[in-house]
């Protein structure tokens, strides 16, 4: 079966981890509390690089990149966060799993005996699972195995319900590109049998324990931990995603994410503003009022998402009291209710991509109290299933684990401290300062693409290229219009007041302050990022834009905000009224 990987629909299921979709790759990266946010960002960078270098079949390269990264990371930093990727390979898919991530095949006709279905578990492997498979008959479910006994299943039928509403799944409901929070995704062709309303057997089978599956989730830290926690992680994810994926098709809005991260009040950050404010009330509300209600309460915990960002949520919430539980934008609840009532309301809200931000953002306090009472929807649910997850919430003992809640808000500050500590320990410790290259015959590290060593000038074809990883050498320099130069040995932010950038304060980016009296230069105007052996220029949404011109071109070309532009030697760049030139001594033949 010849399938174009990028046309295969993917459905997101709620959760707090990062889901990634780029040309040729879908992936999940776990963000358990306590994992290193840098690790997730690094992984994302790797995945992105692989996707960019071989968008049609990144499978092999990706597996190699991930193995290399993993072994190095485990040597220096201990256990890496779990992650998994399904990527296109020459004639099928490549699967790479590590940690608590699984891939299982979902085929809902019984022809295929269960033992013939794909079923891979990252935690069963000594190190990683690394497979090449032909295209599976059904859909592949890539999820973070969050609940204790690993039984948590993605409600494939939720998608079916969606799909059956009117023909195939609406285009906007799929996950096409970018990074979004979630607990897993169902990746597979919408075949006939999938769009059939197989709903019949839904409730009985998997639907049961799905009740509010992973939104409430949290294996360890108690029911609430994840919700606010994820808002923090999301924010960084959103930022990274924005920065990383060429700025297109970004699900999460960078701005809001960043703001949350800095915890800095900003205009228009309704979602973000809401978050910190409401987090605690919400927690309290949940803590006190939720337990009493019946079992289904589990189902309401997810409502949290009622996402302030989603348009017209209030009205919806108030108007449709019964399905509020379902109203939770995310897919799973729908099946839990299982009843035909569900589709209408959720179909509007489930929108997986846009609400991405939403599910994590706790609803305004006002909303919270409203929700619990109408557990009317809960009653059926109670009948339905063993609400394993609800029990956690219900039980008294479940209370203490809520401890993780408070850290959620200050989390960014913690990472800032970590960064500072890292910085103090020496730049060398930062994994992003390392780069893979070939050594020349005199052992100098070089870009695999150059023909002569940058240090000693020897030809690079003397050695068979074996990739080694070492600290990145300077990749060139910026010659400013006044004659000053900046050697590019780190990531820089350029602007009138670059210190106002959160990343600068955190120490991940270094500021280059430019003086410009014309007023055309934004405070944070553009960013220079070292990515592998490339120097990338990114306009940071400046008011007057960032312009580039090749060596002998007279006309300026404006970069789109957040567009990644790889600088070639001799490229002139204009920000505001200031110009600079990028130069490099890399000996590329062309």
């Amino acid at each position: 079966m010849k399938v174009n990987f990028d046309d295969v629909p993917a459905r997101v299921h709620p959760g707090r981890h990062h889901l990634v979709r780029l040309p040729g790759v879908v992936a999940i990266i776990r963000t358990d509390p306590g994992t290193d946010p840098d690790a997730a960002r690094d992984l994302l960078e790797r995945i992105q690089t692989s996707s960019r270098t071989a968008p049609t079949a990144p499978g092999r390269d990706l597996a190699r990149q991930l193995s290399i990264w993993l072994s190095r990371f485990e040597e220096t930093n201990g256990v890496a966060p779990g992650f998994g990727a399904i990527s296109a390979s020459e004639n099928g898919v490549a699967i790479f799993l590590y940690g608590d991530i699984s891939v299982t095949e979902r085929v809902d006709d019984a022809e295929l005996p269960p033992e013939d279905r794909v079923s891979l578990f990252g935690k069963d492997a000594a190190f990683t699972v690394d497979r090449l498979l032909p295209w599976p008959a059904g859909a592949l479910q890539l999820i973070a195995d969050d609940d204790a006994d690993g039984e948590l299943d993605i409600p494939e039928h939720a998608a079916d319900v969606l799909a059956s509403a009117d023909g195939p799944m609406p285009a906007w409901a799929g996950f096409h590109r970018g990074v979004t929070p979630g607990g897993g995704l169902l990746f597979g062709p919408v075949t006939d049998h999938m769009s059939e309303p197989v709903v019949a057997d839904v409730p009985a089978a998997s639907g049961s324990h799905l009740a509010g599956p992973e939104v409430p989730v949290p294996s360890g830290p108690g029911s609430h931990g994840p919700v606010p926690g994820s808002s923090a992680t999301l924010s960084s994810a959103a930022y990274d995603a924005e920065a990383m994926s060429d700025g297109e098709a970004m699900v999460a809005e960078p701005g809001s994410g960043e703001r949350v991260a800095e915890d800095e009040p900003m205009v228009g950050g309704d979602a973000a503003d809401g978050a910190p404010a409401s987090a605690e009330p919400m927690a309290e509300a949940a803590g006190t009022s939720v337990p009493p209600p019946p079992a289904p309460s589990g189902a309401q915990v997810p409502p949290s998402p009622a996402g302030s960002a989603v348009p017209a949520p209030p009205s919806q919430r108030s108007v449709v009291p019964p399905p509020p539980s379902a109203g939770t934008p995310v897919v799973p609840p729908a099946p839990s209710a299982g009843t035909p009532v569900v589709p209408p309301a959720p179909s509007a809200s489930p929108v997986p991509p846009p609400p991405s931000g939403a599910p994590v953002v706790p609803p305004p306090p006002s909303g919270a109290p409203v929700v619990p009472p109408p557990p009317s929807a809960g009653t059926p649910a109670a009948a339905l299933a063993p609400p394993r997850l609800s029990e956690l919430i219900q039980d008294g003992p479940a209370e203490p684990p809520r401890a993780p809640l408070p850290p959620a808000a200050p989390a960014p500050r913690q990472t800032a401290q970590q960064k500072a500590a890292e910085k103090a320990a020496g730049v060398k410790e930062r994994p992003q300062d390392y780069v893979q290259g070939f050594r020349c015959s005199r052992k100098h590290l070089n870009d695999p693409r150059v023909s002569f060593c940058r240090v000693c000038g020897i030809r690079m074809d003397q050695m068979t290229g074996v990739l080694v990883e070492e600290r990145r050498p300077p990749l060139g320099l910026l010659v400013l219009d006044v004659g000053a130069t900046f050697v590019l040995d780190d990531n820089y932010v350029l602007g009138r007041n670059p210190e106002s950038d959160a990343a600068v304060r955190e120490g991940t980016l270094r500021p280059v302050r430019l003086d410009d009296t014309s007023g055309a230069l934004s405070r944070v105007h553009a960013e220079i990022r070292l990515s592998g052996w490339d120097v990338v220029l990114i306009d940071r949404g400046s008011a007057n834009g960032t312009y580039v011109a090749a060596t002998d071109e007279q006309s300026w070309q404006r970069l789109a905000p957040n567009q990644h532009f790889v600088l070639t030697p001799g490229t002139h760049v204009r920000v505001g009224q200031r110009t600079f030139t990028f130069e490099s001594s890399a000996a590329r033949l062309r």
Binding site: L133, G457, R459, Q462, L477, D481, G570, S585, A587
Partner: protein
């Protein structure tokens, strides 16, 4: 399919199929069984040329014109086109396509007959009478009334491209890195190629051939130790540059604010860098200051006797081409062919040495600089380099005839293009270690007058080499366009004697020239 027992895969690469085995690496002469045991696929082809630069191109051009079909030739290379590496080096050393190379009008790598020469071609492509007459007048009166005619770099590359397409050169090209050439038991050679990752099912491919030609050029630059030390120690790639590396940033910065540059060296590249600095100075009205440091400072004409004189002055030694013209066909060629050992090395010493062509334009620029005080030259040798006060500029410690001296400069442009030892090339080192090749008096690969590498014969096969890795042989000037052509002709004639190809007699030669002239495929 049941995926319940995932197989953990280690990240460490294990031995790939078709890789070299220790047995192969340790054995000088390979049998077919050994190669088969290693699982390396074998491709039989009569003639293999390694390198893929202009040396390989010229040799293939000769063989194709002599009548060898393209299918019988394989070019193993990492380059996309033969002149890629050459063009890169000329471009960064300030000879872009519009500037003139230091090469004779008749040495055309795209034309084995040398007729019409570059000058004639340029004249006939002219769009005005002056442009038509100038090249003709130039070659007619050179070097007495005018300087030697030299072709534009762009002309050399575009004509080579035309010839490359005419002979179907790219059909013979196989991309990859050559790891080694070893003799084969029973005659001929195995050439091991490492194709680009993923391009072939096995890590290596063996080309089994009767004849191998090696033209891998010079193994690379050897930057002087002071320069390398500075780079590695201060991690600063900006202020101290080698002229054979991209260094536009130096000119960029000088355009923005005035600065002082130390130029080291007295070769062609130094003169190009000076010309660029002064051109920019004039064009943008800059106040660039230049100090030039010669290791050997010529104050006037020099040479061992009146018949062996070379003009010089202000530190420079002037010579039209990098060899006296007579090495390509005159009495010097005859004389050199008879010299062996130290006598040959001595002769090379005498005619070699760093020199640069006498061209009026930049010599006038220097004269102006001297009189206005912004250009100075001196004799000296660098001892060390270190960053200047507050990290600005560079302080160069030198020893001169008059003692130690420290000079401050904003930039140092190093124009000493030393070539690395042939052992730095893995292929050549392997030839020395395992295939019986030796070194000539200049330390390069020892070849005979037919450009066969002495000591490597694997009857009935032969191994040839040409280009700069054979410098120091009985024929000087091998590292020039004309030198490459002469060696290609010697090789083709030798192959004709062995019966691999028919000799090119006058009749066929004229017919082939006619095809060339009309740009008809062979």
């Amino acid at each position: 399919m049941s995926g319940d027992q995932p197989l953990p895969q280690s990240a460490a690469p294990t031995t790939e199929p078709g890789d070299l085995t220790p047995e192969l690496i340790d054995t000088d002469i390979w049998t077919d069984e050994m190669v088969a045991r290693a699982g390396i696929p074998v491709v039989p082809v009569p003639f293999v040329t390694v390198g893929g630069g202009i040396g390989s191109f010229v040799t293939v051009d000769y063989l194709r014109i002599y009548g060898v079909p393209a299918q019988q030739i394989v070019v193993l290379t990492g380059l996309d086109v033969p002149w890629q590496s050459y063009e890169y080096l000329t471009r960064v050393s300030q000879i872009p396509r519009t500037e003139r190379l230091r090469s004779d009008s008749q040495s055309r790598p795209d034309n084995i007959w040398g007729f019409p020469s570059y000058a004639l071609s340029e004249a006939f492509a002219a769009k005005s009478l002056k442009e038509f007459l100038w090249p003709l007048w130039n070659v007619f009166t050179e070097p007495i009334l005018t300087n030697y005619f030299t072709p534009r770099a762009g002309q050399a590359f575009s004509t080579m491209e035309k010839e490359m397409n005419r002979i179907g050169y790219l059909q013979s090209v196989r991309k990859g890195q050559v790891r080694m050439v070893r003799r084969r038991a029973g005659g001929g050679y195995y050439t091991i190629l490492t194709p680009p990752a993923g391009a072939a099912p096995t890590k290596r491919i063996a080309y089994q051939s009767q004849y191998v030609h090696i033209a891998i050029g010079y193994p690379g630059l050897r930057l002087l130790k002071d320069l390398q030390d500075y780079r590695e120690r201060y991690r600063d790639p900006t202020k101290v540059v080698n002229a054979y590396e991209p260094h536009e940033q130096v000119y960029d910065q000088l355009r923005i604010r005035p600065g002082k540059v130390i130029v080291r060296g007295g070769g062609i590249v130094a003169s190009r860098v000076l010309q660029r600095l002064i051109d920019d100075r004039d064009k943008y009205n800059l106040r660039t200051e230049i100090l030039q440091v010669f290791r050997t400072f010529y104050t006037g004409p020099h040479g061992k006797n009146v018949f062996n004189r070379r003009p010089g002055g202000h530190g420079w030694a002037y010579q039209g081409f990098n060899y006296p013209k007579s090495v390509w066909g005159g009495q010097l060629k005859e004389k050199m062919a008879k010299l062996e050992g130290d006598a040959r090395a001595q002769a090379y010493e005498e005619m070699g040495g760093t020199n640069t062509p006498f061209r009026k334009d930049w010599l006038e620029q220097l004269k102006r600089g001297r009189s206005q005080g912004w250009y100075r030259e001196m004799q000296g040798a660098f001892d060390s380099l270190r960053p200047g006060p507050n990290g600005a500029g560079v302080v160069v410690a030198m020893s001169t005839q008059h003692g130690a001296l420290e000079e401050y400069a904003d930039f140092v442009v190093d124009c000493t293009g030393l070539e690395a030892d042939i052992r730095e090339s893995r292929v050549l080192a392997d030839l020395l270690d395992h295939s019986g090749a030796g070194r000539n008096p200049k330390g390069r690969l020892d070849v005979n007058a037919q450009f066969e590498v002495i000591g490597t014969r694997s009857r009935p096969g032969r191994l040839y080499a040409s280009g700069s890795s054979t410098l120091g042989g009985p024929f000087p000037g091998v590292d020039t366009f004309l030198g490459l052509q002469i060696s290609a002709q010697e090789i083709a004639d030798d192959l004709a004697r062995l019966g691999f190809v028919k000799r090119l007699g006058p009749g066929r030669s004229i017919a082939q020239w006619w095809r060339w002239a009309r740009n008809r495929p062979i």
